[in-house]
Symmetry: C2
Subunit: 444 residues, 2 copies
């Protein structure tokens, strides 16, 4: 094919493609960020970026986070669940709009520099915050979180409740309907914090408008017991019975599931976000990832917020998701790194609604990251000798610290470890100040 002068051509030592690892790789995309070539080196290409000593893979997709909570990193996370929740909510009651903005900006910096190019979020989103994400170059599926007045234990309810959020969601969804970086969704927090009539109304609106839903489902054992007591059904069954799954749903966590629940998720095409670090850290449990994979559930991997993690580095999540069930089931093949890498890229992109991204193949948008493989932990990396060396490296060794370049839709947003769209230093300083002020307000 003939490429225009506006074509960008990347060369790297290797590349992760849908067909597996490719050694000696070239990726080209046009001015619109559309991939026009993904394959072996071509003699005579006008190379824009020579990434020798690096490998290319699709940008990572974070299937579940609350980016604004970056401001609440490291809050009381070593004293058990009750102390953690009290401390996090104690701060959350005093959050201002400026704090939320500072948190979102900090999370954008962290996600980009650790190789994430799209994320699904649930928090207090508004137009100004969406514009911050657009400016950064990132893609977001932003759900406006709602609690209802009867929600217990979430004191910051004033920020979140009411028909207001529903109307604002519908307005924003219409405004950004054609934006390739933005999807707007309803964010009913969870079945135990949203009454059935509210959920049924949202389901109807979602089906009518095509607006997707992002919610927490079956995160803890006590939540499952609570819903069973109240409604005589599991959370998954309860949501299905309310018609919620007639809409497009992203269900975060899904730790405690019956096989009937898994069948319902598959039948209704519900996408699940698996968050292993958060589920362990908060003592929620271990989600049945191998069963979800075997059943063919639509899957993504998420970090949850940094308050329950404490980073947004998805490579850590990828390694843990691969390892965890190998130990639980005493089977070193229980979960494959190759599978989890696919979930964290192609699967996640599809699950959170950016199916034009997530894979390095012709026709997709160029959401691509370059990882330095010259460091000690990348040595030796036997790309020539072993077909699985790249999968092994990406699944078991790579961390966010290896990310050197990030392109989103062809836009270069991070180059040689420097942000091109965000003033990272100023954002970190602002976050430090905002946190200090927040703590002072909460102590008053």
């Amino acid at each position: 094919m003939i490429e225009s002068a506006e074509t960008t051509v990347l060369r790297a030592d290797a590349m992760l493609t849908p067909a597996g690892p490719l050694v000696g790789a070239e990726l080209a995309f046009d001015a619109g960020g559309r991939i026009t070539y993904a394959g072996s080196l071509r003699p005579g290409s006008a190379v824009t970026h020579d990434f020798s000593g690096h490998v290319l893979m699709p940008g990572l997709v974070n299937g579940h986070t609350h980016s604004a909570m970056a401001l609440q990193r490291g809050v009381s996370d070593d004293e058990g669940f009750a102390a953690w929740l009290t401390a996090v909510q104690g701060l959350e009651q005093h959050l201002t709009r400026a704090d939320v903005e500072a948190g979102v900006q900090l999370a954008l910096v962290e996600m980009i520099e650790t190789g994430t190019t799209a994320f699904a979020d649930m928090y207090h989103w508004d137009e100004g915050l969406i514009e911050l994400v657009r400016g950064s170059g990132m893609r977001v599926f932003a759900a406006l979180a709602t609690f209802t007045a009867e929600a217990v234990g979430f004191p910051g309810v004033a920020l979140w409740s009411g028909a207001e959020a529903t109307a604002e969601t519908e307005r924003l969804a219409a405004k950004y309907a054609r934006d390739p970086q933005v999807r707007i969704g309803f964010g009913p927090h969870a079945p135990y914090t949203s009454p059935p009539d509210f959920l049924a109304d949202l389901a109807e609106r979602a089906v009518r408008s095509g607006i997707p839903i992002h919610t927490h489902v079956s995160e803890t054992r006590s939540e499952v017991e609570d819903i069973k007591r109240r409604y005589g059904a599991s959370p998954v069954e309860h949501l299905a019975s309310l018609g919620l799954f007639d809409a497009e749903v992203l269900a975060a966590h899904c730790v405690h599931l019956t096989s009937a629940d898994i069948d319902l998720l598959v039948e209704n095409g519900v996408a699940v976000s698996h968050n292993p670090v958060s589920n362990l850290k908060l003592g929620c449990g271990i989600a049945p990832l191998p069963d979800l994979i075997d059943a063919g559930v639509r899957l993504s991997i998420g970090t949850d917020s940094v308050a329950s993690n404490n980073t947004l580095d998805l490579f850590e999540e990828i390694k843990l998701a691969t390892l965890l069930h190998r130990g639980v089931r005493e089977d070193a093949a229980a979960v494959r790194a190759a599978t989890v890498l696919d979930i964290a890229t192609r699967g996640g992109a599809e699950a959170i609604g950016f199916p034009a991204t997530g894979a390095l193949e012709v026709g997709k948008l160029a959401d691509v990251i370059a990882l330095d493989v010259r460091g000690t932990a990348a040595t030796p990396l036997d790309l020539e000798g072993s077909r699985t060396a790249l999968l092994s490296h990406l699944g078991f060794t790579t961390t966010g610290a290896d990310v050197r370049h990030v392109f989103i839709g062809g836009r270069h947003v991070y180059a040689n470890g420097e942000h091109l769209t965000l003033d990272a230093e100023a954002i970190r300083a602002r976050a430090r100040e905002a946190r200090a002020r927040l703590v002072r307000r909460a102590e008053r």
Copy 2:
């Protein structure tokens, strides 16, 4: 106190001390590397290194690895246990002395740059390799691995067997008896690869000479069943009955234990190395860490070799050790970060036989690392506002990539991300070449 001109004084934003985190910290040590002050900032100190934007903690101690296997990183680790073992052993049969040296050097580079200052190792150690470690500045408890002819599934037996290793261990132990960087040990591979009479002989020698023992114990369920079938006892009971625990023993893994086993470990003062990443990756299972902590077992944390990890970054091990049982037991307080950080430093140093290190307090040797806390994942870090902020940061956020300075016994071995004792670039290049040659030999 009056300090000589040869005193080194470090200042940092905070420091992890045996009494907990200290904000605004100063650490001084004399020309012999002995800590003379560890506390709050003192006006008028002649500061040698101003590490503002950094925090100090004791160097990490790796309780179990096979450093030479750094050359076998990323070998067939996504196809189940049998394929992995076949591939790793397939290479191991063709290892040369030069390969072992290249692997040890690579591991030294990786350990130092991720903040490890002492490690317990079991492999084919000799005087030349010990001298490499001494030159790097690191501390090693080096056990000379032995298999016996009846060992099944370890084809590289020629390198390892016989009375030769026992005699060489005794010779090296005598030679390095007074070296503060070196301990030499017997390394009977495991109860299932060492016959009872060999173990009983080693036990007697170890008690007589004071030479410690490093061995694998109860790593897999099948090993436990095998030993029960052969000897009518669990591996721990079997080793106890042979008198092995009359010597000083470091037992790696201990995944499958009965409560009687745990009692035996406590009664005999056996030190255990917990290796959560390796145990998960190879499908071995989940060691009962909370039970070991509660029972008062002497504990360390280890990475195992990179073939089963795939890095030597102990911060990853620390986070996983803290998280894992929170999920397994559905209790966010099941294991505390504070406890695991203590195990990875003070506990590990004591467990592998360097009790003069592992804590930043007066009289100990200055094995200390400085971590950069100016990055995004370290933001915000509310050191002033929260007494637990430093523990949270070290336990849940820090990775080896944050390490900027390493001192071992007061010797500055890593400064601003540059090695002062090792030629890292040349060592990485040598490892790449050695791996390529090894693979070619194995394919012949």
